[in-house]
Amino acid sequence: MLIIIWNSRIEITSLGLLRGGQGGGEKSHFYAMMIPSQQAPISAKKTIAIIKTQTMHIKAFNTLLPAFSGLILFLLLALAPWEALAQRDDYLPSTSVRAAYLGALVHPGIMLGIERPYRVRQVDKFRPRRIRTVYQERYVSFNLGMYHHQTFHTNFMALMEWSARRQYAGGFYLQTSLGAGLSRTFLHGAAYEVDGSGEVFKSPLAGDFYALASMGFGIGYQLRLGHEQPVSVFARPRLLFMAPYNGLALPRMSMELGISWSPKGFWSAQPEKEYKTKIRKPAKQ
């Protein structure tokens, strides 16, 4: 059994070989285990350069098992997801504008907004044969939206939202959102009041203000990861509550289907970035 202990972030801290197993007849297994430090990450190219320049380790390694040095270097290159590493090292979520269709069955609407990241935590999950990188991102967003419900009302909304996003290195993400805001409805149809003498008056701009609460859970695909496009698409069922609605809260289920765009240099965000690692040891043979 070969165990390579490698620090993917800053340098190779140790590189060793263990030939294990009981008896001599069993197959040899090679494992690459990468143990990162808590320091800032470096690119894959720089990591290769470090491998080449860490003469002490390389020399020791060659002394130990010169015949396998090429193979081990090959394994390092083959097993490590270099492209993902290169991307994740550079990746930072950025401010984006988004537009979405906001509909409930046959009642159309639109939601437009600006979302800005304020924190991201990169979690590297080390598995025996791969690294899985997940970004835990936090956003605040401001949204303006409306929907039109035939015979009921047209509702304009301003919504401040907090979102937690779990972004996978491949591009997919899951997101939950909680929001609060204000809405103003406009009755769909003319509204009339009748006074005590029976005279009829038309009520201009009839409707009500309501406090708004929102919950959403959705999925999306970030084209920036993998496709180098500053765009993501998303689908999110959204549950809105308007209150006080006759002393209670009126729920409204709707589906948001939209696109989010991060123009270069637009209101550039510098979210705090943290790192975390999770290591799963290889199963015992």
């Binding site: 537009a99 437009l112 409306m146 039109h148 009748v194 009829v200 006759n246 002393g247 209101w267």
Partner: protein, 377 residues
């Protein structure tokens, strides 16, 4: 494409354009770009906003021919939707006072009504306060507010469709309390030309008592015939052990009454499927309003306000329509009206295959009677 569709299309396009403009303006402001069209964006936004909002408030009243008008009556903190559909040339408007509290008016507009009744008269589907798709923060939920709403509704309709139109109040269930409650107030009968009472609860206390008696009566017959034994045993046992007094007993009796209707083989079960109605409604608003009505116990004061004593004051032509198996508001209530009402023009029809909602159980038979009676008055 009719005017309403054009208006709606324009409204939607306007609203989308408004949102785009607002976000574009925000982007320009946030990124501090020097942008010459900033003022143009603000101007376009303002114009579209004004047009969009105005189109929300389009006035649509059909003066002749077939109407399908939708508008709102606002009173005491509530915006209540009203739909007038049908032949306005007949100058006869049947105003539905729906059940509940917390029901909705538009559910009475089934296919048969749309094709047959609306061809002859105009139907008025009105959602009461704290009911259906009525909107608002709250407001007065006292029964006197409901009475005031009916009066204002009739005044509004007269002002928009002409003072020569005739009104026929069709009160069903809880609406069967509100209709005579409204008519018994001084001067209100002058606004109306006829009263149609359908399975109405004009006397809640008497209603509960009759429901219990009817459940026991039919329960014993059904048990003897070995029909739905488990259900009827439960109902009969409960009714034997309990009285009708008190809100808890009244609630249980009401639940049993609705269930009993489904246990009688003679009752023609209604078919409520109507997707057009469903899609144009806010299901959640109806649900929330029903809950609001229950929490506010809107019909609780009816126990202290029995209409029986006021019936001698009602002199309008009256049509009493009851399902034979209406356990919810038993036919005994119609007998009380017949005995006490001041009107000499009273007709009563009992539908043999109906329960609490004969318009749903036997729609053709029911509406044939209504159409014939309204045509005569």
């Amino acid at each position: 494409m009719n005017i309403i569709t054009l208006t709606d299309s324009f409204l939607i396009i306007s609203l989308i354009a408004i949102c785009c403009c607002i976000v574009a303006s925000a982007c320009v402001w946030v990124s501090k770009f020097s942008f010459q069209g900033q003022n143009t964006i603000i101007a376009i936004t303002s114009v579209l906003l004004a047009l969009g909002l105005l189109s929300c408030q389009q006035e649509d009243f059909t003066s002749s021919g077939r109407a399908d008008d939708h508008f709102f009556l606002q009173n005491a903190g509530q915006s209540m939707p009203v739909r007038v559909a049908g032949n306005v040339d007949a100058r006869k408007f049947i105003v539905i006072i729906h059940g509940g509290p917390g029901g909705e008016g538009i559910v009475y507009q089934d296919d048969y009504v749309r094709e047959y009744v609306e061809d002859k008269f105009a139907m008025v589907y009105w959602d009461q306060r704290f009911a259906g798709n009525t909107q608002g923060h709250g407001g007065n939920s006292d029964i006197s507010a409901f009475r005031e709403d009916i009066k204002k509704l009739l005044q509004l309709l007269k002002s928009k469709y002409g003072t020569d139109i005739k009104f026929y109040l069709l009160g069903h269930s809880w609406g069967g309390f509100l209709a005579p409650y409204f008519l018994s107030e001084a001067g209100n009968q002058q606004l109306v030309n006829g009263w149609i009472q359908v399975g109405g609860a004009h006397n809640y206390r008497m209603n509960d008592s009759l429901t219990r008696e009817m459940l026991l009566h039919y329960g014993r017959i059904e048990l003897q015939a070995q029909n739905n034994v488990t259900d009827w045993e439960e109902i009969v046992d409960w009714c034997t052990a309990n009285g009708f007094e008190g809100s808890e007993n009244a609630g249980t009796l009401n639940g049993f009454a609705h269930r009993a209707e489904t246990l009688i083989a003679e009752v023609q079960q209604p078919d409520y499927e109507d997707w057009e109605v469903f899609l144009n409604r806010s299901f959640f608003a109806t649900l929330v309003n029903e809950m609001a009505s229950a929490i506010r116990e809107i019909d609780a004061p009816t126990y202290e306000t029995p209409i029986s004593d006021r019936l001698p004051g009602i002199t309008l032509p009256t049509l009493l329509l009851w399902g034979k198996y209406d356990f919810v508001c038993p036919p005994g209530l119609s007998e009380d009206i017949e005995r006490r009402i001041g009107s000499r023009n009273v007709r009563k029809v009992v539908f043999p295959r109906s329960g609490h909602s004969p318009m749903a159980n036997e729609p053709k038979a029911f509406w044939d009677v209504v159409v014939d009676w309204v045509q005569r008055h």
